[in-house]
């Protein structure tokens, strides 16, 4: 017979439970992967490759952090890739005309506009997020292709494209940007009212409404944030390829959702942390980079990433079922 637990005991137990396998699992896998690739490839552990991975991760990270907001509200944004393409084309065209600063601002605004439409369609017209953003993917891609005439917009100002390769305190600027976005996203989700409302909307939207939370504005905000962060990702990619590409980021919807889910965010909403998503992004990019170095074809890479996703989610499900039967709340 156990005596009734005191609150302090309980909170220690709780914290141990919260720090379960799920939170150490993926980082562990990432470390193992890095060790593996270091042994298998001479190039992997070189500064040049680091820069490479960092650049790749930066854009994916911004998009995935945005996706996190939406998925936490139990939503989904499949249009992030198209948003990236639109931002790329729009910012490139404006930039060639009016200079980098205006180009960046207008690009970001284009992204926000997509998020606004997504959010309104979902909250006002009540179209399911999956369908709404799938339709927007088609619409926005079409807009990007129309604007650019289907060809890349070239001749971007050097001052903009060089950003991709310049450094701040020795760190590539895109990576600095991604880290700043991470810190900001973490702070918003953790320390602000909006953050609480996002978790609540996804955790139990009916309860959130009854608690006096404006569920629809919360969802709207999440889609806008998602698209705005995707726009930042789009600008990073545009600088890297030094052109406005109407087909940029076509695989980002899949990759961002993969990183979010691998990072432990529940697709049902309400649980997970953007820090986990950061690890998910590292996982996805390091895996792709390592396989590239080993000469694995990109087709095979797609297969590997798919399998990794299934394994990660199955493992997550297994572990959470274990811990559920252990605690057995009844």
């Amino acid at each position: 017979m156990t005596p009734p637990k005191s609150p302090s005991q309980i909170s220690v137990v709780n914290r141990l439970q919260q720090l379960d396998l799920r939170q150490v699992g993926l980082p562990l896998v990432v470390i193992l992967m890095i060790v593996f690739f270091t042994f298998k490839s001479d190039v992997f552990m070189t500064p040049g490759n680091f820069q490479n991975v960092g650049l790749q991760a930066a854009a994916i990270a911004c998009v995935a952090f945005g996706q996190t907001f939406v998925i936490l509200t139990a939503g989904l944004d499949l249009s992030v890739g198209a948003t990236v393409a639109l931002v790329s084309v729009v910012s490139a065209m404006v930039m060639n005309d009016r200079g980098p600063f205006v180009g960046i601002v207008v690009g970001l605004l284009a992204g926000v506009a997509v998020g606004l439409v997504n959010g309104l369609v979902i909250t006002r017209l009540r179209v399911a997020p999956f369908i709404a953003t799938l339709a927007m993917l088609s619409i926005v891609s079409g807009v990007a292709l129309n604007l650019s005439g289907g060809t890349p917009v070239v001749g971007l100002p050097k001052s903009f494209t060089s950003l991709a390769y310049s450094r701040l305190l020795g760190i590539p600027v895109p990576l600095v940007l991604a880290i700043a976005v991470l810190i900001l996203a973490y702070a918003v989700l953790r320390f602000t009212r909006l953050g609480r409302y996002i978790y609540s909307t996804g955790g139990n939207s009916q309860a959130a409404r009854l608690s006096g939370i404006n569920v629809r504005s919360t969802q709207l905000a999440a889609y806008i944030i998602c698209a705005a962060l995707a726009a930042i990702g789009g600008l990073i990619l545009t600088a890297r390829v030094a052109s406005g590409q109407p087909t940029l980021g076509s695989d980002l919807a899949l990759t961002s959702v993969a990183a979010v889910v691998l990072g432990g965010v529940s697709l049902f909403g309400g649980r997970g942390s953007v820090l986990g998503v950061a690890v998910g992004v590292v996982f996805v990019t390091v895996l792709a980079n390592g396989l590239n170095l080993l000469g694995v074809s990109s087709y095979t890479q797609m297969m590997v990433i798919g399998v990794a996703m299934i394994l990660a989610i199955a493992a997550d499900e297994f572990i959470s079922r274990k811990s559920r039967t252990r605690q057995n709340p009844s």
């Binding site: 017979m1 156990t2 005596p3 009734p4 637990k5 005191s6 609150p7 302090s8 309980i10 909170s11 709780n14 919260q18 320390f191 602000t192 009212r193 909006l194 953050g195 609480r196 409302y197 978790y199 609540s200 955790g203 139990n204 009916q206 309860a207 959130a208 409404r209 009854l210 608690s211 006096g212 939370i213 404006n214 309400g270 649980r271 039967t325 605690q327 057995n328 709340p329 009844s330």
Partner: protein, 504 residues
Amino acid sequence: MAEALSAIHVTKSFPGVKALEDVSLELHAGEVHALIGENGAGKSTLISILAGATRPDSGEVKVAGHAVAFDSPGTARRHGISTIFQELSLQPWLDVASNIVLSNEPSLKGARQLLSRRQAEHVAQLALDRLGARDFSARTLVANLTSAQRQLVEIARALAFGAPVIIMDEPTSSLPSRDASRLLEIVRQLRDEGTAILYVSHRLDEVKTIADRVTILRDGRNVRTELIDNLTTGQMIESMTGRRVDHLFPERSSHVGEVVFRAKNLTKKGAFHDVSFEVRSGEILGFAGLIGAGRSEVMRAIFGADRFDSGHIELDGKTISVHSPREAIAAGISYLPEDRKEQGLVLDLSSRENMVMAALPRFSALGLVRGRQVRSVTAAMGRKLGVKGDLNRPSLTLSGGNQQKVVIGKGLISHARLLIFDEPTRGIDVGAKYEIYALIHELAAQGVAIILVSSDLPEIMNVPHRVIVMSDGGMHGEFVHPELSEEAILSAAFSAFTREQGAA
């Protein structure tokens, strides 16, 4: 007395039902106003309108004498109305403190958008202390709490909000008696401080002790509002049901036969240990104890919903092993869970489909469901249980008590040898309670072995033939009718704890 909140000539229809018809209710500052009525009478609908969660078809709501348009629960909260809904509305993946301050978060000085975690925990802890909630902390994840603990969090939320009007829809229905009396104490304090409290309950004894005035709804109409002292319990029941109810419990039958089910030394670490008992055909075996004593865990293990570590179970003299509810049902064991919303019903399915869900093989041929047979059986069951509402519509649209009846119907249709009822009358009105007891007795008379888990003392005293008391996961006494006594059951229920304190 100042009028705090009122509904004036409110009418509300749902497809197929008139939930409220021309109902008026005035709630004064500094009074406890009870709202009672049978299941489906419209209590929760009225509350939902007062809380801004539902809009009336006609009529209006006034706060402190001024008409207001509540377009969302948020608006009502900003007008100082705090509501504890019948169906709990907590965030499972946030911790207790975040839930308690949700939508009313304390912020850091000078930065309205930034939350003060320290202040939140402080506010939450104050409210929890006031309720005497000591077995969990402000940092516990709500998903890890029992339903009684969640109910306390919900109440703490209302306390922390400090609203001048608090509406409570059956706040004690899932609380152990100790916490319930504590809550009544707090309700009294709040009233004395001038808070207006609208209090819905099916526990008429509770209403009698706590309320100043009572409003009785029947079929969506306000049949009377009266000072509580002018009404006897009998009169309340009569107004609620429209008829006289003389007996609260049916007679026990005396045809107890062979042993149907036997459990031997069931043990599950951290939940229960050495639980052994038998149930005979025609017998009703009660399981008493405090909420959290491990009764539901034992039943879930027998039903194959959870594993146990050691021990075994026998049905009709043969040892059986069930690894899943499906196997248990096939073997002839049915379990009606206490938490209908999470375990008993698929709320989006029609009540009809819910009722036959566990017995589909009997109602289908070649994988096709026999619609007509399902309709006739479920219609008969609906009549038998007196379900108010449309069986063809999602169970979601039924009132809380009527959902519970559907769960019971599901158990009855399954043709079990052993039927386990876990808190079957929680949230059920007096009249329907009697009918449910009568059904339990009728099943027993047909030779079914029955286990009744209940925290309701009058029920455990008057329905079973025999009562086992559990305390902290172990068996702490067995009493056979007519030697049942409240004192004996209560002291056995607390025995695991008193012994410990004696030893400490």
